[in-house]
């Protein structure tokens, strides 16, 4: 297992690696924000222009999913998205560790989303109305059952957010490590360097193919997955927030007899 758990180059003593690299991601993002907002110009140039384009994309997504009133949640959602994206991409830099390959970082992000959307729902509708919605549009006798089921389904949301991000990132890293280090460097290149004649031919060609496959196909795939997972995390967070906001409308129809 030593090959799979290749340690990062830079480590702080006594501090877990994922915390160190979470701080690095924070420093990168804070530095980017500082540089972008240092000389705010009406006609943006350089870093400010880039950051404005990025944030406009987030705003566009929020407008599409939550609606116009969702713009006040832009700081929460854009921060989560940018942090997860930078953390995912940090894991792809050789010699560094991705904070999102650790379960704790993902659980922290997912719990923030969980607390935030319940808080937003309670603030928008009041605690009693918000809790009533958990019972759903069913007859009175079924309401306790629905309540329990809804609680479980809400508790499954942060779990699935956490595990999805963790599984995608960690699984991808294991794939990279196995194909590049275990099969490529140690297996086939090691065979080529071991001195045997057939190993030099087969191992050399095979190792070159493995490394070319990793760099040419797996790395771009991992970059795509990093963007996609950050997008999915943010999109699901927005869906949960919009669900917590929009529940007021469903609640109005709840007292009518359920004929469908």
């Amino acid at each position: 297992m030593d090959v799979i758990e290749h340690p990062p180059i830079f480590r702080l003593p006594g501090i877990p690696d994922h915390v160190t690299y979470t701080w690095l991601a924070m420093i990168i993002l804070a530095g980017l924000a500082f540089v972008a907002s240092r000389n705010v110009a009406l006609v943006p140039r350089g870093v400010q222009n880039f950051m404005e384009v990025v944030l406009e994309q987030f705003q566009q997504m929020i407008d599409d999913v939550i609606g116009h009133e969702g713009r006040r949640y832009l700081p929460l959602i854009a921060t989560l998205g940018l942090f997860i994206l930078v953390a995912n991409l940090l894991g792809l830099v050789p010699g560094m560790n991705g904070p999102t390959t650790n379960l704790n970082t993902n659980a922290a992000c997912a719990l923030v989303v969980f607390a935030a959307y319940h808080w937003i729902g309670v603030r928008k509708q009041g605690a009693v109305t918000y809790l009533q919605h958990f019972m759903g549009p069913v007859p009175l006798a079924l309401k306790p059952l629905m309540f329990v089921i809804e609680i479980i389904s809400h508790l499954a949301r942060p779990l699935s957010l956490t595990l999805r991000l963790f599984g995608n990132m960690f699984g991808g890293h294991i794939l990279l490590a196995i194909i590049f280090f275990l099969m490529g460097l140690q297996g086939l290149i090691g065979w080529a360097l071991s001195g045997s004649g057939i190993g030099a031919v087969v191992g050399g060609i095979g190792g070159a193919v493995m490394i070319a496959f990793t760099v040419g196909f797996l790395y771009p795939l991992k970059i795509l997955v990093s963007f996609l997972q950050a997008f999915i995390f943010v999109m699901l967070s927005m869906l949960y927030i919009s669900g917590a906001i929009e529940e007021a409308e469903h609640h109005g129809g709840e007292h009518q007899p359920a004929h469908h």
């Binding site: 999805r164 963790f166 995608n168 294991i174 997008f231 999109m235």
Partner: protein, 103 residues
């Protein structure tokens, strides 16, 4: 055909007990097998489900090119939700391989 497949499965399942019977515990070797097979089943079935979802989404996009952006967003969310089931199996497999709670 079916008989030979059954025989092959029995042989595969029997290999760990032949190879590691001296150590006593069989749970370690079998958990490696189970992790691999679980991931294989999960990946295959997940690919079936995702293929159906993508097929109908592309069909809908071809019929309604104007709604392509919205359909694509819904498709990606749906794919994420389908994929998370396979990811659960991946997490279970990784727990079996690395954490090894049962020995």
């Amino acid at each position: 055909m079916r008989r030979s497949l059954t025989l092959a499965a029995l042989v595969v399942l029997g290999i760990p007990s032949l190879a590691f019977a001296a150590d006593g515990s069989l749970i370690g070797p079998y958990s490696v097998l189970v992790a691999g097979f679980a991931m294989a089943f999960a990946a295959g079935l997940c690919a079936l489900g995702q293929g159906r979802a993508v097929a109908s989404a592309v069909d809908a996009m071809a019929r309604q090119p104007g709604a392509a952006a919205r359909i694509q967003t819904a498709m990606i969310i749906g794919l994420a939700l389908i994929e998370s089931l396979a990811i659960y199996v991946l997490v279970v497999a990784m727990i079996l391989l690395f954490v090894q709670p049962i020995k």
